[in-house]
Every structure is written in C-alpha cells, then in structure tokens.
Amino acid sequence: DVKVTQSSRYLVKRTGEKVFLECVQDMDHENMFWYRQDPGLGLRLIYFSYDVKMKEKGDIPEGYSVSREKKERFSLILESASTNQTSMYLCASSPYTGDEQFFGPGTRLTVL
C-alpha cells in the first residue's frame, strides 16, 4: 500500500516562528503536493513538485515555501507563521500527472 506520512499530527507555534512540515512517501512517486484545508473552503493547493528540486506554485503560495531535495520527501515551510495560517495541512503524492493522489493523515497547525 502507498504510504504518505507527515511528521506531526498536531503542532502549535507562535506568530513569527519559522515552521517546517515534513512529508515522506514510500512509493517512488514523481509528484508531491501540499494543500491546506479550511472549513467551507475545501482543499486549496499551496505548492506542488513534479521532480526533485522542482516546484510549482499552486493557488495560494503566499507566505509559504517548499523544498524537495529527495524524491521521497517534500517539505512545506512557513517563513514567519501568522494566525491566518492556522489550518489543516495535507500532503499528497501521485505517480504520474493526471493520476489519483494519495494523501497523508494531515497536520493540524495552530498559530497563536
């Protein structure tokens, strides 16, 4: 089975802190994605990557950056956390473009 893991299930940070969210997939997938999920807004794409060291902006990249140094790992970085970044963050991977995406369990981030 495809497994996508995220480093933390729950995280509490303070405004202005730098935050790292880690995602690892074990199926050698080419594509990886970061979403945030908010009530009433559904899943919104932050960034995605289709290859090592490659990244593309999604729909809401402001305030975020990403890093993909290895194929299996995709990191989301909040350079200076703000309260409006309190959300559920979901990582996903897919083998090819146009394929279904496999999701991790999510990280619920609270910024105080």
Binding site: G40, L43, L45, L90, A92, E100, Q101, F103, P105, G106
Partner: protein, 113 residues
C-alpha cells in the same frame, strides 16, 4: 474559473438505505474525476474514479455516474453503513492543469441507525 461544486453540504441517511452525493463541475473539457472519502481526523482516501469516456463505473457498494451534458457527477453508496459516515469530496483534473486536482468543498454524510 475552475470550480467544482456540491449541491448539499450535509446528507443524512438511514442505515441500509442508498446514498447519493452530487457534484457539479464547470469545465466541460475535464477528463478525469475522482471521489474521495475523508473520515474525521484523517486524510482523504480514494474511493473511485472515472474518465470522461465513461458514463458509469462501479466499485464495491459504490457507483459513480458522469453526465457530461449537464456537467454533473454523482456518487451512489448502496446499503449505507455507519462506517460510511464521513465527508465526501469530488475532484477533477482540468486538462490544462494536468498536475492539479480541483476539489469541491465536500458533503458530510451522516448515517443513522
């Protein structure tokens, strides 16, 4: 712009009844559609998918119907069980943005005994 909408935010059904969850999409060129299930505290899980060259696809207790004429997608769950209680999302790949999935906001399915 791209959008995937859901007609009902919450659907309540009796255990054993059939459930139908609906989804509308705006891009007539969309060629791939997916239904996901998200249980409380978990990430979305793939349920079933369908490509635009099909009208219907069946899985275990689930059926997806695609009506391209009215740009409508539905998920039917037969003999709904308490374990089916979750939020259900439809999503699609618009052909221009082949790397991305566009998600609906979700429908919460509640199953009562």
């Amino acid at each position: 712009g791209e959008s995937v909408g859901l007609h009902l935010p919450t659907l309540s059904v009796q255990e054993g009844d059939n459930s139908i969850i609906n989804c509308a999409y705006s891009n007539s060129a969309s060629d791939y559609f997916i239904w996901y299930k998200q249980e409380s505290g978990k990430g979305p899980q793939f349920i079933i998918d369908i490509r635009s060259n099909m009208d219907k696809r069946q899985g275990q207790r689930v059926t997806v119907l695609l009506n391209k004429t009215v740009k409508h997608l539905s998920l039917q769950i037969a003999a709904t069980q308490p374990g089916d209680s979750a939020v259900y999302f439809c999503a699609h790949h618009p052909p221009v943005y082949t790397d991305k999935l566009i998600f609906g906001t979700g429908t919460r399915l509640q199953v009562f005994p």
